[in-house]
């Protein structure tokens, strides 16, 4: 027994010394993203940067695989107990960065905190509570049957409840989520993830070090230290890679794709993304948009493939619907319908042969080439006699205008936080309702209660095949009605130095699983 204990203590000592880590994870990685995480509190903001941080310093219960399936992380297995309940069994022996043991209590703490977070509470609205069964088992309970339970569980990155409980020296609650002003959680972090944050200068650099007691010893990851530098300027970010200053950059601007492809020392990875770029046609502002024929005419007048090829340099997938391939609602039959003659005919039928004048607004620094896309669309609409008065704005000024529905056609890009089609409809095509928050970004004021009811029905349908059929039907109806004008799904691109095998750890959600990254 004594011997065994000694061996155990010995192995513990070995595991916690940096030497043992160095044997496995010796590589350094310099990363340049367009922004660094705004805070270390992963519940303060729901954004790409925060999700990337979450996957570096925390682990979710389960996570998305490359083909949009699930793989277990901190939860080893899960089973449905009844319509409203899913039972999760947790991995044993997982440690937080602080050294605390990970148990069900941490999941409960995290869940309660998510319910309070301004940014996350909307996603967790269908959930009522976490029931702790024992140290390593808990039930996740929804108020109604919820088909997206597992999708949402990918957002549960358990926090170290002991670390985030209690008060700081100046008497502030350690668990508080503060949108502005600094809090304990926004400067300190303890998760179960592969990397601890060793140094952080906001806007300048973040340094990560491999967590010595990381539970996933099967992970092939061999990066011991990561330095993340935000480089906002596209050209500078690309130069930093080409000059060998950094090993991995994201995003890669479309204009530089060829340059990186030609470079012998770099490797480019692109993927069709899931962010849809579309125009809303405001029926409240423009009488003509109430006529489905006019909306269809516009749908026929826009050449999605042309925009994707010429303006996006092939860096986009032309779209005729909101759901990208891989989503349940993706309807294979829907194809872009570019046909100017048909468009003119429809305009004539609707009695608008001579056209009319509308206003259009688009951001100019939010999505890839957003202002150029709007210019192209305006030119295409001119061919069916719709004169467009276009205004492009920086995003900080665009969103207030968007909230005021300040133009007849407005451009928006949308990524479904739940990686599910219903999220698109709820925000972009539901009948706008200020009280329930439905159709919050529906700047077209399109309203079809039938479609909304169908989506609501799909949202409580746990038979996924049935649900997919319902959502695809929704896509078809929206297409037939030309409820909005889809353009494309923006592609994703990353680039790295040769020998940094980024391809296996990348995915369409744009959360690189850097913990598993192998550097040769």
């Amino acid at each position: 027994m004594k011997k065994l204990l000694a061996a155990f203590v010995g192995s513990m000592a070995l595991a916690s010394t940096p030497v043992a880590v160095a044997a496995d994870a010796t590589k350094n990685l310099k990363v340049a993203y367009d922004a660094d995480p705004v805070t270390l509190d992963i519940h303060e903001q729901l954004s790409g940067g925060i999700m990337q941080l979450s996957h570096m310093s925390f682990d979710p219960l389960l996570r998305w695989t490359k083909d949009l399936g699930f793989e277990p992380r901190l939860a080893e297995s899960w089973e449905r107990v009844d319509d409203n309940t899913m039972r999760f069994r947790l991995r044993k022996g997982v440690k937080f960065h602080s050294g605390n043991e990970f148990t069900s209590a941490d999941v409960e703490f995290t869940f309660d905190r998510l319910k309070q977070s301004q940014d996350f509470k909307a996603i967790f609205k269908p959930f009522s509570r976490v029931d702790v069964i024992d140290e390593y088992t808990f039930d996740l309970v929804t108020s109604e049957p919820y088909p997206l339970l597992l999708n949402t569980a990918t957002y549960i990155f358990p926090l170290d409840s002991k670390f985030y409980s209690g008060q700081t020296e100046d008497g502030k609650d350690k668990g508080a989520i503060l949108k502005h002003g600094s809090s304990f959680a926004s400067d300190n972090l303890s998760g179960t993830g592969p990397y601890t944050v060793t140094e952080r200068k906001q806007g300048v650099r973040v340094e990560f070090e491999r967590f010595a007691d990381y539970w996933d010893i099967d992970s092939p990851g061999n990066v011991g230290k990561i330095v993340l530098t935000p480089i906002k300027e596209n050209a500078t970010r690309v130069s930093a890679l080409l000059s060998g200053g950094v090993d991995f950059i994201a995003p890669v601007p479309p204009n530089d794709l060829d340059r990186i492809k030609r470079d012998r020392n770099s490797e480019l990875v692109t993927m069709s993304g899931t962010r849809i770029i579309l125009f809303h046609m405001n029926q409240e502002r423009v009488e003509a948009f109430k006529n489905p024929k006019v909306r269809q005419a516009i749908a026929y007048a826009i050449n999605q493939e042309g925009i994707a090829a010429k303006i996006m340099k092939g860096f986009a997938t032309p779209a005729a619907q909101m759901s990208p391939a891989g989503y349940q609602g993706h309807n294979e039959n829907l194809k872009p319908r570019f046909d100017v003659e048909k468009a003119k005919k429809l305009m004539k039928e609707a009695g608008y042969e001579d056209g009319f004048t509308i206003t259009m607004m688009a951001p100019n620094n939010r999505y890839v080439n957003d202002d150029k896309i709007a210019q192209a669309a305006a030119a295409m609409l001119a061919r069916i006699n719709i004169k467009v008065d276009l205004k492009t704005l920086p995003k900080a000024q665009f969103w207030p205008e968007y909230d005021n529905r300040a133009a007849d056609m407005m451009l928006i890009g949308w990524h479904a936080d739940t990686e599910d089609s219903a999220n698109f409809y709820e925000f972009l095509t539901f009948c706008p309702d200020a009280d329930s928050g439905a159709g919050q970004y529906n700047a077209g004021n399109y309203c079809n209660p039938e479609i909304d009811a169908l989506v609501e029905k799909a949202n409580v349908e746990t038979d996924l095949d049935k649900r997919a059929a319902m959502l695809q039907d929704v896509e078809q109806r929206l297409y037939d009605d030309a409820a909005f004008l889809p353009l494309h799904w923006q592609d994703l691109a990353w680039a790295a130095k040769k020998g940094v095998n980024i391809e296996p750890v990348l995915n369409v959600m744009n959360f690189p699983y850097l913990g598993d990254l192998v550097v040769e």
Partner: protein
């Protein structure tokens, strides 16, 4: 002297008051700070609650008085993005900008004085003509382009094979135009030395200095031609003046005439312009810092604008206003040192 300083301090206060009012007045045009603070799917009630908490719903006057009240006590508010007092954020970013400006100024001084003087003394020499030609080109290239070309040449490197490689001269020309690259193209590097307070310096390590090279050269490239031309023109004028002819007639050595008598008088207008230009240089750092991801005030300010981080924008403008006032005061003081006949307070000598 004291009266002069009092006058300057009151001027500074006035400048800062005006700047703060203007900055406050334009904030509505800058956009909504909330869009950087919350995710897209946050409901409008939640947004409204945060807006209320931040006091963004109050009227202009109420907001300004609240700001002015704490500004008098030295508190310019908290940056939305950094979640810290705006002045603290500025103090953290100031050293990087100062080092950049110091480096660029050194390049300008070390190069412009000898070149300007040489071009004035020997206006017909081919080297003078060469310098003048280059400076005309230099003055007309935007700093953004200079920076990108420098990065391409000295960070990434270019391989040239325009000339026939099988001939000796072709080979030589190819090699002449081919650059290795290797100089850092972004940031300040990891090897900074902590001096005091928030000052982390890159001036004392090889890596820190290497990171300074390209940004400093880019920044200097705008002002250098201007100063060469200014010094040349002033010097040529001074060389025509009576006392120089008299000195020549007296038989003084050329070195003594050129560098002691002529140069000193040449420098008076150069210092005045230099003081003003130093302020403008701070403005040019916005471009240079953006291209080189240099973590200084310029980059911070540009990002603050895209994020509508109003408290930080206001604080930055006020601090830069202060820098302008301070440099101009210093210029006036130096002016007095170089030319004792100039009296600060305007009284007769």
């Amino acid at each position: 002297m004291l009266a002069f300083l009092v006058q300057r301090v009151s001027q500074a206060l006035l400048v800062m008051f005006v700047i703060s009012v203007i900055a406050f007045a334009i904030q509505d045009g800058l956009g909504d700070p909330l869009q950087e603070m919350v995710g897209m799917s946050v409901s409008s009630e939640e947004r409204e609650a945060i807006r209320e908490e931040l006091g963004l719903n109050d009227s202009f006057v109420v907001q300004y008085l609240r700001f002015a009240g704490s500004a008098i006590q030295g508190d310019l508010g908290n940056s939305y993005f950094y979640s810290k007092p705006a002045l603290e954020v500025i103090a953290e970013h100031l050293p990087a900008t100062l080092e950049l400006v110091i480096g660029a100024s050194l390049i300008i001084i070390v190069l412009s004085v000898p070149i300007g003087v040489y071009a004035a003394i020997r206006p017909q020499a081919w080297l003078s003509k060469f310098f003048m030609g280059v400076s005309t080109v230099g003055i007309s290239i935007p700093v953004f382009l200079t920076a990108i070309v420098l990065i391409q040449l000295f960070s990434i490197g270019v391989t040239v094979n325009w000339f026939p490689a099988d001939t000796g001269w072709g080979q030589w020309l190819n090699e002449f135009f081919t650059t290795e690259g290797g100089l850092p193209s972004y940031g300040r590097g990891d090897d900074l030395v902590h001096l005091f307070g928030t000052w982390e310096s890159g001036l004392f390590t090889g890596e820190g200095l290497a990171h300074l090279v390209l940004p400093c050269v880019s920044l200097a490239s705008i002002m250098l031609p201007l100063f060469i031309r200014l010094i040349r023109a002033e010097m040529m004028e001074v060389l025509q003046s009576d006392y120089i002819r008299y000195a020549r007639a007296k038989g003084l050595g050329a070195g003594r005439i050129n560098f002691l008598h002529a140069l000193k008088n040449t420098m008076l207008p150069v210092i005045t312009v230099g003081g003003v230009q130093l302020g403008i240089m701070v403005a040019y750092t916005i471009l240079t810092e953006t291209v080189f991801q240099w973590p200084g005030l310029g980059l911070m300010f540009l990002e603050a604008i895209t994020r509508s981080d109003i408290p930080l924008i206001v604080a930055y403008l006020m601090v830069v206003g202060l820098i302008f006032v301070v440099t101009n005061t210093l210029v006036d003081l130096i002016y007095g040192l170089v030319n004792p006949t100039v009296k600060l307070t305007g009284k007769k000598a």
